[in-house]
């Protein structure tokens, strides 16, 4: 089928396998490998992307479901060469270790801040509850999200 959608602000029109997972289409067809597969079952959140502004596990979505949608992946989060505040704070606050979960984690954190610009620690913990990380113990990730919220307030 012909997929027509917007990915990271750019129009995409191409023949794709409609039954392929959106995750695979992004990674293999569009070579956007920033989005990671951690489990393939919607249990780890590593493949989180935005579809029409909402965070979605792209391993649970078929490509055909993205018809006409507006998609943002980790590669599209920076604007005009400037990193998103969440990305900046993950870097400065030590939120990144091996980094494999980080693209999905950053997308989930961005979604959380879009909904709760001034989150409590508890809101952050529950907001990221679907994203697994094995390296950091999450503490520095919470710190990064709090800091990003702070930066965006001023």
């Amino acid at each position: 089928m012909k997929l027509c959608c917007k990915v990271n602000g750019e129009k995409v029109e191409r023949e794709v396998d409609p039954a392929a997972r959106l995750l695979d289409t992004l990674r293999e067809e569009l070579r956007l490998t920033g989005t990671k597969e951690g489990c393939g079952k919607g249990e780890c959140g590593a493949c989180t992307i935005f579809v029409n502004g909402k965070p979605v596990d792209s391993c649970l979505m078929l490509t055909i479901q993205a018809q006409g949608a507006e998609i943002v992946t980790i590669e599209g989060l920076a604007r005009d060469g400037k990193l998103d505040a969440v990305q900046e704070c993950f870097i400065s606050e030590g939120g990144v270790q091996c980094g494999f979960c980080i693209p999905g984690m950053i997308m989930a954190a961005r979604a959380l801040l879009n909904e709760h610009p001034e989150p409590t620690l508890e809101q952050i913990q529950y907001g990221l509850g679907g994203n697994l990380c094995r390296c950091t113990g999450y503490a520095k990730i919470f710190q990064a999200v709090l800091k990003a919220a702070q930066l965006e307030r001023v």
């Binding site: 920033g34 951690g38 509850g129």
Partner: protein, 768 residues
Amino acid sequence: MTTETRWIGARVPKLDAPAKATGQVRYLSDLSLPGMLHGKIRRSDRPHARIVTIDIGQALAVPGVHAVLTARDIDNVAFGHGNDNNAFKNDIVRCIRDEIAAVAAETEEAAERACRAIQVTYEDLPAIFDPREALQPGAPVLYAEHPDNRPFTYSYGHGSIEQGEAESAFVVDNEFELTWVNHCCMGVSAILASFDAEGRLTLHSQTQVPFLYRRDMAAIVGMDPADIRVIQPTIGGAFGSKLDIYPFEPIAVHLARATRRPVRIVFSRQEEFRASPTRQPAIVTLRTGCDRQGRLTFRDAHVLLDNGGHTSWGATIPFVMMQTVSSLYRVPHVRFACDVVYTNNPYSGSFRGYGNLQATFAVEQQVDMLAERCGLDPLEIRRLNAQHSGEETGQGLVFSTCGLKDCLDSVARQSDWAQARSNREAGAKLRRGVGVAGLLHVGGGAKIYRSDGCGSILSIDDFGKATLVTGSSDIGQGSETVLAQIVAEVLGIDIARVRVINDDTDVKPWDVGVHASRTSYVAGNSALMAARQARDKLLGAAARSFQVPLEELSLRDGSVMRGSERLTALDRLVRSLHFSERAELLVTQAYFEPASVKQDSEFRGNVSPTYAFAAQVAEVEVELDTGVVRVVRVSAAHDVGKVLNALGLEGQIEGGIVMGMGYALSEELKIVQGMVLNPSFRDYHIPTAPEVPEIRVEFIETLDPTGPFGAKGVGEAPAICLAAAIANAVYHATGVRFTRLPLTPERVLEGLIAAGLVADLGASPCQA
């Protein structure tokens, strides 16, 4: 000796964080090569069986399939620590992960389809699933060469247990049981193998030990090690899991050789749970004694390790377990014996802490039990028995620096210990408790090979940029950043002008690998040596060309300084060396070998040049009606020698603590009759964000005389003692001792019911 430092001790963000936070980093599963095929492995679904027939006819007929291989198609060299593993199993499968065949195909789907189409018939053999049964007379035998099912035994002692018993006023005796735990690296196991026109092999691999890996792989696939190049793309977590070669790796090489195409194998998560190594399960029988004053008199340990169907590094964890039994606190009389036995369960590898979580869980609970018996506070008995700097233990470990007492004092302060200990009741349905545990671990490698060294090559180019080529590897822990800090500090340049290359065996000098908490110490010292040589060369050249005394010169802010006077910029000076009659390049190299020794046949000797110590306090809440244990706060103090990167260090410690909490409360690979019942994140629970407790961390700086700037390794330590601290806290809260992990609600509730704390409401619906 305190000198002002710019980079050492600072909070330096990881150098690779920007690439990771923007999705630009390429992990192995992101890599592909032109013409690349996808490899898939057909594994056994029987725990112990003779393979009668393998029919690959239908698999070969699947469109897109290029090769289907079995043991018959390759020179199936035995490998592994027990020399009991093969790429493909020849005639007998001994656990459900065992590899029988593999497919290379154009797409992953085709490879999967072909794998399923392989027809295997088996003849089941009697199996062993309980390590205790393996030693019974008449038990099924897994390997004819080991009729007693016992491929390895360990025995260590110092002093005399009889004397220790005679000197004891109190003795405690328990059996502790530890289970299988999966590493759960977020990036699954993967490899990409490709041959060039001249038959040289390039492996894009996740290995933590690239040089040993190259040697071992060469032997397995029948090549000259010099013809194998190992490239290490960014790793999605390792934690020890990539310390060995596993069958999927030579299988990828065999597939690439057979198809003459690059072949990539990437596990599924389910496969990762079923077929990657685990933390080693253990049954620890331990007796500890102390005198009336609480001074430890003896420890007598027997450990039974379930080796599974083949041998990986899990079989060698007694090396580390015995160190904790012999040397965590002063113990005059020690005996340690271990039997490693074959069963038809999956096998274990190395995992952060390397047996120390298991040993510490037993040792540190018994310290608490003895404290209670002799009426001492848990912190008091530990302070009483903790060693000082300069002590040598019965096993010959030399604690050049030992901050254990300072760690205990720190966690007492941080947790407001006395107050927390007296505040147990939190309501009729909720109990509060607080518990402590300490730990000892190697802090600068472990000399188990002839060398525990690391090489470095440092060059400064004519633009003043420094490139450190280090033998060490970064598995996400941030060693790249720490090494760059060391170079920047010595050369007086900005860290942005330091590049670290650490990912290619064709380029980098030798190193043992990432294990035994050695990288900051060993690779750090190596980088420090190379950087100091470069500094001396630069200052010597400046002294010559400016005709000034050498001792008045220093490097700062990218310049050569004489006091506060800027003599020349670094890049200018380097150019003046390059493009002069001296024609001198600014390249230095160093090989650092720690002053540790290989232990003798009785396991004595100072195996690491320095040791890491820590104490952690866990504050918990226990719900009486449900058995749910919640960790509310963890206070940790770690003897790190010297803080190199405060941000990275906190991250390591927090990550280790949460990993330790998973070990304590929820993580258990459920293996029944050799089958893994919970191969998914839904059914195997690692800690998630909402469960993370408040974590407080304090660093104890003991300034180790041989560490780089005084630093020790800390990578493994944070995960080691929390399970013991939590179990001690649960005991404090409820008065019930748990000797088996994990402390799931079900297990805790059972214990509470047995102790009469909660009414037994009869069989649960699940049992009915």
